[in-house]
Amino acid sequence: MSKPRVRRATVAAATVVGLATAVSAGCGSDSDASSEGGVTTLTFAASTFGDPGRGPQLQEWIDEFNASQDEIRVEAASVPYPTFGQTVLTQMGGGEGPDLVRFDMPEFEAASDAGLIAPLDDLIDVDQYELLEQPDRFMVHDDVRHGIIFEASNYAMFYNADLIPEPPTTYEDFFATAQSLTSGDVFGLAFRQTEAEEAGVWQDIFNYVYGFGGAWSDGENLTINAPENLEGLQAYKDLYDANVIPRGADAATFRRMFAEGKVAMELNNGGYATHLRAESPDLNFSAAPIPFPVRSQGAILAPIVINEASEAKEEAATFIEWALQEENQVALQEILGASSVATATERSPESLQEMPFLTTFDELTESSLPQVVLGFEAQTPDIRKIVVQNVIAALQGEVDLQTALDDAQEQATELVG
């Protein structure tokens, strides 16, 4: 029979597969939370590591931790901001992923609701730290703590002080200022308005809704098409229609324009201040509260959490505890600038002198709300998608705003069941 031939062909086939495997295996592998020589390596994923103004400083801050430890090493993993939620949630849903994650609120809520985040109560004794109350209450769900504030950043109005000596204090004033400064290639205002920046549009319209007395829910039911929301979003749309913003520009572009003096005003969170200082030291800018009828605005809350699937939760907790130590909080605060951290820290005289408006941000903490739908926290990403799509349809003139909000209300209500 053809036995020898068969064997030889088998050997050949095996060789091909073997070669292929060898090629692949030769490329090295690096598994998560690996222990080598007694050192546990943790991965800490955040989108902010990629920020030119803050990434390198955050890396140095983490290096401080690594220098203080013999057995734990934290590696910063910069996950691209546009795909951060998708990437990290896929990994965590699959029982894998980084050990430590800096989330934004919507993804934090979705992940903790799905049980992907380790409860911290037994890992960290929070009572020994003086955590800032307002932001911290969003870290606890039904008495279970899922995160610690890594960064909390209130929204305010940034303005170019060369173009605007006195910041507007009413919405009418704000609109008029934006209009009068728009000419040629200079725009009075900028905000996000493209679907490619869904999360950003959500952050931006949040200020208009809350600043006009609206809310996405009353805690029990969705109120997307409430009259106050319509008023606030109409203001947003009026500014869009008035052509006082660079239409179609993404945040990266219009922030660069702000730095170049081609955009006069922008509603943004405090994290932006350090970024601007680092990138454009000569820019004369300042910040003031958003001049909308109601003093209520969004805040970026970014918790640091431990992945439930991590094999090194204790070590990860060690890092968080290190981060909560006073001198490290101060250092982090200095890096993050106008953002605040988990605990109350004293701002240094140097940074206050450099950025006197920092106190403005601190005063806004009480009136700032995380950009989630209260009562529907875990569904925020889905509601966000529906709302943003409908609002953009109204911007594009496909439907009027009232209809868009009614549609959004209907779709979102159906979604949350």
Partner: protein
């Protein structure tokens, strides 16, 4: 006579326009990388590169992990190429030279895999990779990419082997050579151009792949360039020049490799996919 000259002029203009259209975006990438902020955001475009800004390339290489990214991309691309060619040659040979039960089905199955979007397969593959400890490894990406590009590689090679006269194998048959020997000694040397074409396709596929890479890799030192570039797109700002500089360095090796392999690609694509 003048009509002839007009035709010729038109043709030359058309060729120049096509060349310009083809190359301009890459040129613009280069110009953008080499622009100062004030030029980039000026009301008039600067059409020529500002070579005083050349430091952006050095900075991108020195500060960022650009070299690591490019190295990872290269490893992934070469590994994918080797694996898919290694498996594709016997598969193409089987499809070309034998008739067997399930052959038609195999061909349809191969074509079918060409339509599966990566986005569809990410989640099940993630679970699979998790089980085999392939997450966060370059080998995992090589396996995933090779699985996606192997069918087209095999079809190209099948077409090429179809083109080799069977008579050439007759001689081997008389000598009693085994099929594998005949494949390696007779067919492989003759389909060199097609192997090169298939290799280029496999290489590009892996060099460019983004969806798997962004999901299966989380250790920074394992990221390929496709993911690395995207990581510059920040929440507060994107450094346009740096992104373009890295994108240019990411594009250049692929273009160079392509220009080098071009004549084989043309010959191979023609012999393989087209006649096949």
């Amino acid at each position: 006579m003048s009509r002839l000259r007009l035709g010729l002029t038109l043709r030359i203009v058309a060729v120049l326009v096509v060349m310009g259209v083809a190359v301009f975006p890459l040129y613009w990438m280069f110009v953008t990388a080499l622009s100062s902020n004030s030029d980039l955001f000026a009301s008039e475009a600067r059409l020529l590169p500002d070579f005083t800004q050349f430091g952006v390339f050095a900075d991108a290489l020195a500060e960022g992990e650009t070299l690591t990214w490019l190295r990872n991309s290269l490893v992934i691309a070469l590994g994918t190429t080797a694996l898919s060619i290694g498996l594709g040659i016997p598969l193409g040979y089987a499809l070309s030279r034998f008739s067997f039960r399930g052959k038609a089905l195999t061909t349809v199955a191969l074509l079918l895999t060409q339509m599966l979007p990566e986005a569809l397969m990410v989640v099940p593959l993630f679970a699979l990779f998790n089980r085999f400890d392939l997450l966060d490894t370059l080998s995992g990406l090589i396996l995933a990419n090779a699985a996606f590009v192997l069918p087209i590689v095999a079809l190209i090679l099948k077409g090429a082997i179809d083109g080799i006269p069977r008579e050439l194998e007759e001689a081997g048959r008389v000598d009693g050579a085994r099929p594998l020997t005949m494949l390696v000694r007779i067919n492989v040397p003759l389909i060199g151009p097609s192997i090169a074409a298939a290799a280029v396709i496999a290489f590009f596929h892996a060099w460019n792949e983004y969806v798997f890479a962004v999901t299966f890799i989380y250790a920074p030192e394992m990221q390929p360039a496709s993911v690395g570039i995207a990581s510059f797109i920040g929440e507060v700002g994107t450094p346009v020049q740096t992104v373009m500089a890295v994108a240019f360095m990411f594009t250049l090796p692929a273009v160079a490799f392509y220009l080098f392999a071009q004549k084989y690609v043309v010959a191979g694509m023609t012999a393989g996919a087209v006649k096949g």
